[in-house]
Amino acid sequence: MASLAKEKPTTAPEAVVVRFAGDSGDGMQLTGGQFTLSTALAGNDLATFPDFPAEIRAPQGTLFGVSAFQINFGSREINTAGDAPDVLVAMNPAALKVNLPSLKPGGLVIIDTGEFSKRNLDKAKYDVSPLEDDTLAKWDVLAFDISALTIEAVKPFGLGNKDALRSKNMWTLGLALWMFDRDRTPIEDWLKAKFKSKPEIADANIAALNAGHAYGETAEIAGPLTKVHVDAVESEPGLYRTITGAEAISLGLVAGAQLAELPMFFGGYPITPASAILHHLARLKEFGVTTFQAEDEIAAICAAIGASYAGQLGITSSSGPGIALKGEAMGLAIMTELPLVIVNSQRGGPSTGLPTKTEQSDLYQAIYGRNGDAPMPVVSACSPGDAFEVAIEACRIAVEYMTPVMLLTDGYIANAAEPWKVPDPETFEPFPAKFLQEKNGGEELLPYKRDEKGARPWIKPGTPDLMHRIGGIEKAVDTGHIDYAPDNHQAMTDARVNKVKGVKVPDQDVALGETSGTLAVVGWGSTFGPIHQAVRRMRAKGCDVSHIHVRHLWPLPANLGDLLKSYDNVLVPEMNTGQFKTVLRDQFLVDATPLTKTSGQPFAIAEMEAAIGKYFDDVSGNEGGQVPVNDDQLPSPEQ
């Protein structure tokens, strides 16, 4: 990690972690988003972690109203948003209190003293101002009145104090852009476009941005503030953009529908953090997309099932509580064997749980969570960019096997951004949907006659002379008539199970390391980043550890069991209480050890390193089974 020591570093740091924290009304997410864009345009690799409260505008100045945006960027590959920030920008006492514990020792904290009134200090439960005691002793502090400086900067535009202070985030962004040697032009362009109809607001914000930047220039003498340049990352040639998980899934679904040569029907109901997918798709109607905001979660999936029945690609999306409501309808899609994609943007649970925080605790729900023997393929995304490919994969399985498919992502992936190499659609393999046009059993129509994959034909209502009835009651083999006979239910249950078992899944590879050895760290979903970095670092220290990342969670890759058995130990880190561990034990009888975390926060790399370290007593620098980790670097338990 970079050190932002008082002297200018002689070499450019490999990576820097910056966290912007303020009140939920301070525009921290916007600041972070624009800083991300400038970082991407500067050619750095990056990962972000927006962390905001569930309340839209929590009471001002409170601890629970703090909204933060963390970005890790560097000249090497970045997989996580970083453990401990090098720089913390705290816009008020509450933001300082909540975020200070995670700031790296010796790191820089930038504070807006204009917000450190008695009232705000009380709200943040500070008896004494942290600016006046030794609270900040461990860190470099740059404290000045950003509020007053902003008001001064936007004075020529005649805004009231309240409106003027709204530009505080742009002032701060200007300072950050100066610190990291960034171009302001894209931000200015963005402000002009955003406030097209209110040019005076755009001008005021640009003035604030410039003032923050200028402050950096002149305050260089003031001590801890130095200009840092992070080199561009070596990356594959091509066209790049930044993308969030929600955007990537939306684009992947559009691509999937195009590859299936089907119009898309998306049924959704507002829920955090899944709504962004509905919002993105609602703007893509020219791609044959119909979006339907239903009256509830059940109607959203049912309308999608109806659309699939009528020959479109039905898709629905939600988060845990909504997925629970959709359970019965998933069973209907399984029974009627219709294609359907169900996206679950997981959040902390149970019940309403932690709407804006991340978790991976819906794995059991995805694999097992329905009445009856109701097998369904499950795939997972590990990063915003990966979500694009996984969305296409989900569409492919749904159409080729006539089955609902669940795509697991989470709040972290949905909101996080990363640079993404724009793929060329010409390289995608199409999987055009086929519809039955004439009777498939001689004189007879057999709606449940299966192909070599076990899939039944897709028959669009409206096709001449193929009238037939389907439904949730058990179907007779081939004819699909109602049939409760014992042998028939046995045969149909087996057919459904075998069809899903037979879904073609690529063989499991090793993401980093060897195909056997002392320890395999096995993950799925968004834990990819911290696991990958931790394994990379521990391997550099000489530990015989490998990283296995599983994308296809059901059915599991056929070789996964044998692969896992070739390691002495299997460690399964998860943001739940050990669900994938249970699946692996059940499916392969391997002694998988859980490493669990359910704090609503992603794993820190250091936590992962510590857990891996316990397996390597003998590695130099790791005596006693502990990696030398500074506890200060771990996120505080309060978070």
Partner: protein, 349 residues
């Protein structure tokens, strides 16, 4: 968009080879025949017709219709049918539901399919009881209904399906009963209506709620107890063979309906109302008329179309797509992008 070309069929063409599994004597048989009689008259095409149902006795209906059919899950048929209609607006959709399916577990979806005005015919078979689960009281059961779940009589106030439909914004509300010879006329009017057409069909459950509608549905004295509404015709009732002898008039002081003595000759002087199917206020009053002092209002009670949901969705999609090209490569590379130069491995802009 329903049945653009007249299709020649007979009742037989609409029957499936499946054995009908309703209890002998169930009112559902009569409704099935009425529907199978109506479709040939409409010139409907079986390949283009789709029956969608939820769960319950009524919801077995699609299995007996030689059309496309989808027997879905409890209460959700309106949501599924909405998806079907949006995906293929040319399909002629008939929704089959009951008082439990449509007003209890599926009440929410019923409200929304009506307010959105998705073009389909919604037949709610009201037998005031849960039949398939063996006779529990339903949301339309009358107060005091004794059932396995209400052994000393139900105490919750029943819902009025037509009042619910009108309240939810339905633009067509009709009523009939299983064995009525007029039922096909109501179904045809519903079919002609562009939009969600709600038809409450009183249906006799001979096992769990036998003859609860006999007070108005029994042939004997039916004329005095049934008010068959026809657009533009005076609201007269009484035995038509003997000549109508009563009518419905408006008490202008209390703004309520009243029964007046009237005949086909003097109804105007007697102040008998002329049925205007577009009059929403009178429709509410007709639906809410307490049976007993008043006859049961039947036929097309309300019919005032407005643009359908699927038309709006199609138009919106066309508007939103105007001047836009469905180019996936361009979509993926949208927004602020940068290029990494093949020679340097570093961004060039």
């Amino acid at each position: 968009m329903n049945a653009p070309v007249k299709f020649e069929t007979t009742l037989k063409d609409w029957e499936t080879d499946q054995e009908v599994r309703w209890c002998p004597g169930c009112g559902d048989y009569a409704i099935l025949k009425a529907v199978q009689r109506t479709l040939p008259q409409l010139g409907a095409n079986p390949s283009n017709t789709c029956f969608i149902s939820g769960i319950g006795c009524s919801s077995r209906f699609p299995y007996y219709m030689e059309t496309y059919g989808f027997h879905t899950i409890h209460g959700r048929a309106p949501a599924i049918a909405t998806g079907v209609k949006l995906a293929n607006p040319d399909l002629d959709i008939w929704l089959v539901t009951g008082d439990g399916d449509g007003l209890s577990i599926g009440g929410n979806h019923m409200m929304h399919v009506l307010r959105r005005n998705v073009n389909m015919q919604i037949m709610l078979f009201n037998n005031e009881i849960y039949g398939l689960t063996k006779g529990q009281s339903s949301p339309t059961s009358r107060e005091g209904t004794k059932s396995p779940s209400t052994p000393i009589g139900s105490y919750d106030h029943p819902a009025n399906p037509c009042a619910f439909a009108l309240g939810a914004g339905a633009r067509f509300v009709g009523r009939g009963f299983d064995v009525s010879k007029n039922l096909p006329d109501v179904l045809m009017a519903a079919h002609a209506h562009q939009g969600a057409a709600f038809i409450e069909i009183f249906q006799n459950c001979i096992v769990y709620n036998k003859d609860v509608f006999n007070d108005f549905a029994a042939p004997k004295g039916a004329g005095d107890r049934q008010l068959w509404l026809e657009d533009g015709k005076p609201m007269l009732f009484g035995d038509p063979k003997a000549g109508y002898d009563k009518g419905i008039a408006l008490d202008r002081d209390t703004l309520t309906l009243k029964v007046v003595d009237a005949s086909e000759e003097n109804w105007e002087e007697a102040g008998v109302l002329v049925h205007n199917a577009k009059d929403r206020t009178i429709a509410h009053m007709l639906i809410e008329m307490p049976f007993g002092p008043f006859p049961m209002a039947l036929g097309v009670i309300y019919d005032d179309p407005r643009p359908t949901f699927e038309t709006a969705v199609i138009e919106e999609r066309a508007r939103a797509s105007e001047g836009k090209e469905a180019n996936l490569a361009k979509l993926l590379g949208k927004g602020q992008t940068w290029t990494v130069d093949p020679n340097e491995g570093h961004p060039t802009d």
